[in-house]
Amino acid sequence: NSLIGDQYLWPTTVPYYFEDDLDINAKGVIMKAFEQYRLKTCIDYKPWSGEKNYISVFKGSGCFSSVGNQRKGKQTLSIGAGCDRIATIEHEFLHALGFWHEQSRADRDDYVTIMWDRIQAGREHNFNKYDDTTSSSLNVPYDYGSMMHYSKTAFQNGTEPTIVTKIPAFSDVIGQRMEFSDSDLLKLNRLYNCTRPTTFLDTCDFELENICGMIQGQGDNTDWERVTKATGGPDTDYSNMGRCTGTGYFMHFSTVSGSEGHTALLESRLLYPNRNYQCLQFFYYHSGNPNDKLEIWVREYDEASPSGTLRMIETITGLPETLWQLHHVSLNVSTKFRVVFKGTKGAGSSTGGLSLDDVNLSETTCPEHVWRIKNFKSIMENTPRGTAIYSPRFRSKYGYTFQMGLYPNGTETSEDMGAYASLTSGDDVIDGDLTWPCPWMQITMMLMDQNADIRKRMSNQRSVTSDPNQKVEGSTMFSWDNPRKVGMEVTDGDGTKYFRGPGFGTSVYLTQARALSREFIKGGDAIFLLSMEDISHLVSSQPLPPTTPTDDLCALIKCENDGVCVMDGVKAACRCVVGDDWSYYGDRCQFKSSIQEGVVTAVVSTVVVFVVMLVVIVVIVVCLKKKYKKKMNDMGGGTTTQNNYA
């Protein structure tokens, strides 16, 4: 629920400043949190450039923020040790944007019961609620799934819950710290009058007959069909997995009939990019001949080509498989465009075709690697506690090789799933050319919520960053050094030997109950998206805005008659235009004078001064003369001395 009062709102682009004490990993995760805001809301963030009010993010002792824009210039928000998780950061920024905790809203007693006798002594004030003159629920129903809701164990003094949900099914739902819920987003978008997210472009699960405005391309041989099942597979779509009768559509290009080389184009609606990079994500089912192929193109429009120019982006490779496969394609489009899915029938006979579902397009970077774990629920149940399973080794674009270790049934210290990232040895030659210890690479491990709409996903992610200065506990070795030096030799399932460096991560990645919720498991499978990003640019200090905003001061002064404003020390001043026998003057160059006028003024002034001085001198002389005469008379007793004769 939000704090009532427009004065507490920020502009939709919020200025921020990263203080130097922030951890590098925290800075990287904050940037990821900002990207979620951009993808799902109209809230954007920009480095502070001198705006009156801004959010100063620093490493305090803990995670905290003020509520709303307090309009006090520098407003602090702490991301301390242990706070560098995307959900925690999104939570604190939601406070800063004007939101209280969900269970403090005016109508909360209709939905939860506060167990006052189970709360730690003196902490009861944490369960205050605000009436509807102070806070607004923005006409959104009570949200058990809000990332702003306390968990059931908040401030408990024993083992019993302090918050009991009126609907028991929500008991373990409250307190999620994964991602924005639908209601979190609805409220934020309402509070800030958002009309569209900043970086989201399109999503389509093909459930509606209008297929999201997509069109069948021209100049091809056949069309893509909207179906619920296809000959040769798949038997269901991916969005609903066939769970709902009468729904569950996807697009299919059959290659059973037709000639080799026949094509079918499916084109998205017109799209208007803001950034020069996009990520196209979709699920693809290949049940045709191995020679059938899917290509991704873009049709770009500009003044020179109003009908659009086709540009090839990528051919989707891979043999037919009885599986909906997740694909990512990076685009780099800067003009109006359409995405084009081009299916081509290859040589040989086919019993199926190509299928598409759950297409998402956003102006974000694509994740690099996909780790799909089949029959994940079974693996959670049957892996012994404290036992890890490992992803394949992935090579990042920087050359470093890494992998994820997952404890599906909890670690030795926690029942939750644990997740750790490690550098591994890769190709000898490539590893030899890399910088060691590995500097400032952020590895992100994301369990993907497989909701068809990217905006509604509440994926769970954690990141760790390689600090080249960090040392192994009790050792002089560097933690992120070459795994051949600091790691341990391990043997892969196929007998391959390699080295694995120390693991960095968390034993509380996600509870099993949450892993079973939403769409983390779909068709029995879980999908982890893994990436490594160089965040060394975040090591240096964020530049401060100029201390004397020159432009702003000059903006306050209007120099007339073509005068120019310049900074004179810390003040703005006008420099006036000067001609051969004239010039402008005055604090805004508002007066004009000429040399002739100046001569006249000088002569007149001189004459006046001369006359005045002459008058003064005459007066002084007359006065002195009178004074001297009087004095002489006084000395002679009033008798005039003359020559006397007897």
């Binding site: 704090l3 990993n25 002792s61 803990g62 995670c63 905290f64 923020s65 003020s66 509520v67 307090q70 006090k72 602090t76 301390g80 040790a81 242990g82 706070c83 560098d84 998780r85 925690t88 939570h91 604190e92 406070h95 209280w100 905790h101 403090s104 004030h125 944490n126 205050n128 306390y150 968990s151 908040a154 401030f155 307190g175 890890a388 490992y390 270790g405 210290t413 926690s414 939750d416 750790y420 490690s422 760790v464 192994v472 506990e473 933690s479 790691g487 341990m488 030799e489 391990v490 043997t491 892969d492 694995r500 460096g501 120390p502 693991g503 960095f504 991560g505 968390t506 034993s507 509380v508």
Partner: protein
């Protein structure tokens, strides 16, 4: 497969409220900076 050393980067704390409690913080509602001058 052999096990290598693993480090918990968050000390195994499940939630931001646990982080704040461990830090000895007693903030308003656990993680809110409440300014007395704030008009509410």
């Amino acid at each position: 497969t052999s096990k290598v050393t693993e480090y918990d980067v968050d000390g195994g704390k499940e939630d931001l409220f646990a982080v704040n409690q461990a830090a000895g913080l007693d903030l308003f509602e656990g993680d809110i900076l409440y300014d007395e001058e704030q008009v509410r």
